[in-house]
């Protein structure tokens, strides 16, 4: 046996080519959004350091003042300084967003995996139930829950929003769990006597965490929107608890007096924050699609 037939003929020796320019690590990552969002969060967290006035003080001499050197963002119709309110109120808006998303995620994960692990009939029943829940207008559910919880405050709003926004994540969790529930490691864990929460935490969560990450970020976003919408409509935070939403609830008076800054500034902060979160969320979701178009 000679190795002659295994030697290739006419192979041109090629030098190994390494990419000369490394792609910068920031490529495709939402750096700008992260920076802006971090900035907003930082400023809100340390609001006391940058506030120029007391945000709760009603300066009745200077109500509805346009932005100027003394009141950087102007004052609202009650004479409060908008610049200070933005940072001070942002804290509550962001807190509600994060807390509500956390609540809804926990409910969604538990409900979704229960439904995913349950026998077929129970699974169908639970999924039907979520569909029925979805068919009650969200606004009405919020009104009911608010009435149950009594006078609205920061926590009750976060709870209400969390309780009304878990269904879609639960559906995704359920689908993911159904796909992996019969895999060997889950069965093995069960046979060794692993409880529901053990299996959930050790075996299921690592599998679906990536697919719901995007939705969780989006939930923070929609919770912030929900808070501001509710406060604006007068069923969310009362006007004395400052948040970006409750700042906008003065809009009616602002429109009548054409005080555009009362509408524009909190709204801009809201939109920029939401935009940054969307960018980050989209980055998390982005499935790398590099194939060529056949068209």
């Amino acid at each position: 046996m000679s190795d002659a037939r295994f030697t290739l003929v006419g192979v041109r020796p090629a030098t190994e080519r390494l990419p000369t320019v490394k792609a910068p690590w920031v490529k495709g990552k939402p750096i700008l959004s992260c920076v802006i969002l971090a900035g907003i969060i930082f400023c809100c967290a340390f609001a006391e350091l940058i506030m120029t006035k007391d945000p709760t003080y009603l300066d009745l001499m200077n109500y509805s003042k346009p932005p100027g050197s003394e009141f950087l963002f102007g004052t609202d119709t009650l004479g409060r300084d908008m610049f200070s309110m933005i940072w001070y109120g942002g804290r509550i808006s962001l807190f509600i967003g994060i807390a509500a998303a956390a609540i809804s995620t926990v409910i969604a994960v538990i409900f979704g995996s229960l439904s995913g692990l349950a026998p077929q009939w129970l699974d169908t029943l639970l999924m039907r139930l979520t569909e029925i829940l979805l068919s009650i207008p969200n606004l009405l559910l919020v009104v009911f829950l608010q009435a149950l919880l009594g006078k609205p405050n920061t926590f009750s709003i976060a709870l209400v929003i969390g309780l009304t926004s878990w269904v879609s994540i639960a559906k995704v969790v359920r689908t993911e769990v159904r796909q992996i529930r019969n895999s060997e490691y889950v069965v093995a864990s069960r046979c060794m006597g692993g409880g529901f929460f053990h299996i959930l935490w050790r075996h299921l969560t690592p599998n679906f965490v990536s697919s719901i990450m995007f939705m969780v970020v989006m939930n923070v976003r929609s919770a912030i929107v929900a808070e501001s919408t509710l406060s604006f409509m007068g069923i969310g935070l009362p006007i004395e608890i400052i948040s970006w939403g409750s700042m906008l609830s003065l809009s009616e008076k602002a429109i009548l007096t054409k005080s555009w800054w009362i509408l524009l500034i909190p709204g801009l902060f809201l939109v920029v924050t939401l935009l940054c979160m969307t960018e980050i969320g989209n980055y998390l979701r982005k499935s790398v699609n590099r194939s060529q178009s056949n068209l």
Binding site: R128, L129, E131, I132, L134, S135, I136, P137, N138, L139, L140, L141, V143, F144, A147, L148, G150, S165, V167, S168, I169, K171, V172, T175, M215, M218, R221, S222, V225, A226, S228, T229, F232, M233, I235, L248, S251, I255, L256, K258, W260, L263, L264, G267, L270, V271, L274, L275, T278, E279, N282, N289, S291, Q292, S293, N294, L295
Partner: protein, 335 residues
């Protein structure tokens, strides 16, 4: 999965529809009555403050609010089957009359918005897919992402501020000017702002979905084949790719009805537009039970029907769509 016996298939769907509606009615009935609050407030208004305990008791008895909830429910159900949904506490009229006066407005706003959105999203999505990664696509994508981040109530406020208050071009609220209820031009002028909000707010979401679905589609092998046969870009895109994505688009549009409906509620409130959105918001806040019940049933029936419709579309027309995909693409918008 196409079943052999169509009667069985649609019978099952019908059964699950009826069951869902029934459960929904029980749920809403109980939630409404368990939420604290005094329904007499909406019936007697301010006068409640002056009523004695005995008078209140008599009033509650008259309205049938003292019975256990299940007794009330059974009574409501029996009457409902005869077509009698009770009277509205606030308007002291049959609820159907109250709703009848307003539902047209909502249908006009929501329906026109929905159709416009449907067509525009399709156009925009195709445009983006056509110019994939070139400047029109990039500009539209950027713009769309920004616009989709704007909360609808804030956008409404800004538009009111600019077009109604500063420029005075369009009216800021209502469905028609006083005394001009039958003036079509006036109605249209009142419809422009709310309608544009409905469309703008949801447009990008669907356009983006179409774009992505189309881009997925053009990477399929049959497009390469069609290309090599000598078909041009337009023919392939419109005749083949579009046909491939339309079923899933229809089913997603069907699922999205509740989002549009919910959005319409908020927009109606901002514009004080006399539709059923403002009505149901009022009735929920002031415990106008019968009115609330019928409104929830109407929207619930529409939503459940659309859900089942989309299931049927999925299963009958395009079995490739998995439930998973539909779920993934719809949750973003739920606010």
């Amino acid at each position: 999965m196409i079943q052999k016996n169509p009667f069985l298939y649609y019978g099952k769907k019908l059964l699950s529809f009826c069951l869902s509606v029934f459960v929904l009615s029980v749920l809403v009935f109980y939630i409404a009555r368990l939420a604290p609050g005094d329904p007499l407030m909406s019936y007697y208004g301010e006068r409640v403050e002056k009523m004695s305990v005995a008078e209140k008791e008599w009033a509650r008895d008259k309205l049938g609010l003292n019975d256990p909830i299940y007794v009330q429910y059974v009574r409501w159900l029996q009457n409902a089957f005869r077509g009698d949904f009770g009277i509205s506490f606030k308007y002291k009229q049959n609820v159907l009359t109250v709703i009848g006066a307003r539902i047209g407005n909502t249908l006009l706003l929501g329906g026109t918005g929905f159709v416009l959105m449907f067509v525009l999203a399709l156009g925009l999505g195709i445009l983006c897919a056509w110019f994939e990664d070139r400047w029109p696509d990039r500009v539209i994508c950027r713009l769309g992402t920004v616009i989709s981040c704007i909360p609808e109530f804030w956008l409404s406020l800004m538009l009111i501020m600019v077009f109604a208050v500063m420029l005075r071009w369009l009216p800021s609220s209502g469905a028609y000017s006083i005394g001009k209820a039958h003036d079509v031009g006036d109605r249209i002028r009142h419809l422009i702002l709310p309608l544009s909000i409905v469309v703008i707010n949801h447009l990008w979401y669907y356009a983006y979905m179409i774009r992505n679905k189309l881009l997925e589609e053009v990477r399929a092998d049959y497009v390469l084949l069609a290309r090599s046969k000598g078909l041009n870009k337009r023919q392939i895109l419109f005749r083949h790719c579009l046909r491939g994505i339309l079923p899933s688009y229809f089913s997603i549009m069907a699922i999205s009805v509740p989002h549009v409906l919910g959005g319409t509620y908020i927009i109606e409130t901002v514009f004080s537009y006399p539709g059923i959105g403002t009505l149901s918001y009022e009735s929920a806040r002031f415990h106008d039970y019968n009115l609330l019940m019928i409104l929830c049933m109407i929207s619930g029936v529409v939503v459940i029907f659309c859900n089942i419709l989309s299931q049927i579309i999925n299963e009958q027309i395009d079995p490739r769509i998995k439930a998973q995909e539909v779920v993934e693409t719809t949750e973003v918008k739920r606010a």
